[in-house]
Amino acid sequence: MNATELDLNLDINRFAQQVRVELADLPGDDADDLLDGLEADLAEQALDRGEDFALPDPATYAAELRAAAGLPPRAAGSRRTSARDVMAAISVRLHQVESRVRDNHAAAWLLDLCAALRPVWWILRGWAWFAVVALVLGASPFPDALSFLPIALLAGLILVSVQWGRGRWLPRAWLRVARTVLSVLAVVVLPFLIVYGAQEWSSRGAEEYVDPSVYYPQGMAVDGERVRNIYAYDAEGNALTDVQLFDQDGRPLVTTGSEGKANAWDVDHYFYAGGGPVPVPLRIPSREAIWNVYPLQELPAGAGTDGLDPDLDRAQTRPFPYAQVPALPAADPTRDDTDATQTPTATPAPSGTPSATPSPEEAPLESPTP
């Protein structure tokens, strides 16, 4: 159904309501018999005639129906008022207001714009219904994209709303009443939902932009990537264990940063719940956890690293990235290795992807001297 047909169907619907108002004084059966199928007949006629089709004047049409059916002309004051008549009368009144407003050019432009945005309202209405259901059930009005049930419910409600908007799926009169009631509900609920949504949004924004600590790794990082562990080798290229590191100010050099100490971490929570190895500090009775003795022991995958209780007893020193790295040229007998203040002339910092046996290109030094 295209937009023109849709407009036409709405026009026909409105026309039928106007005729119903004109026939409102008749007993229900008479009016129903006359109006039964009127919309379908008009729609078919519109299809037949195409561009030529124009809806007649409802009052004249109703008078013609009465006359042909042998019913009395409209009697003033003998109106039987039913909810449906009231609805129809309201609809007619709105239509009259609309045609008056349409005399104003800007207002007509605005009305057309609103008419074009009607599908947006249908979708919003579906979402509002979903939100009401979700809030009643204690769920979020913003469905999680991964949870099937809420998404299915939301999609279903939006579908119903759109179909109702197009005048479909309304086989019973009470469904039209339900549509009106639920639309009013949606109109009432939507402002609150939008405010609620805006608050949710801004609080999410606050987490993202005001407090970056949640999203940017604290602790020791290289190019933004958290360092999990540190492996040290001596001048001869042998792996070292239990190396204590300090920074230029004499503070313990820890991968966990201040966060680990502040929160008294028993494991490195940055890596916790990731499923992989999780560093743990050195434990000495009656002392705080020691994070600056490297390499740190790590919990292997499965030892509570999935976010359950960490099994600290299973912490172990994992294999070094290299069993051996090339020795330093300075490691010759003339050099005083005991002088702690001496600065090494080269920095043995293996880079690149760790492998068990570094190739010469990966080796930190140009000329290894085994």
Binding site: G37, L65, A67, A68, A69
Partner: protein, 119 residues
């Protein structure tokens, strides 16, 4: 001549005639009448007539569900309707032949006087 005025008197017969062999729903009947040459028949008049003939027992109706679209209310002629139609047929034939005779035999003035003829 305004044929809508003429139609009023014979619409009952016309409607009964188009449904006598084949049941039809509202607009379907309007279309049959128009196809038959009664182009000026108003659809509201037809729907009203259908309603009146139904109340009078000349037509029966039944609803046919349709997939997708709305249900259709079909009208069928009843035995009583057939009798009415037959009677109206006779009336019309008599009326039409009288009228035809009247119109074809009525003398036309031999000559029309024109303005200023007597001058």
């Amino acid at each position: 001549m305004d044929t809508t005025q003429l139609l009023k008197g014979v619409l009952d017969a016309a409607v009964l005639a188009v449904v006598q062999h084949d049941d039809g729903y509202g607009y379907d009947i309007v279309r049959r009448l128009r196809d038959a040459g009664l182009g000026e028949v108003g659809d509201a008049s037809v729907y009203g007539t259908l309603r009146r003939l139904y109340s009078a027992g000349a037509l029966s109706s039944y609803v046919v569900p349709s997939d997708g679209g709305p249900h259709r209310k079909y009208y069928a002629i009843t035995p009583q309707g057939s009798k009415t139609l037959a009677a109206q047929c006779e009336d019309w034939s008599a009326f039409a032949s009288s009228m035809s005779a009247l119109l074809t035999t009525s003398p036309t003035p031999a000559s029309l006087r024109t303005i200023g003829e007597n001058r």
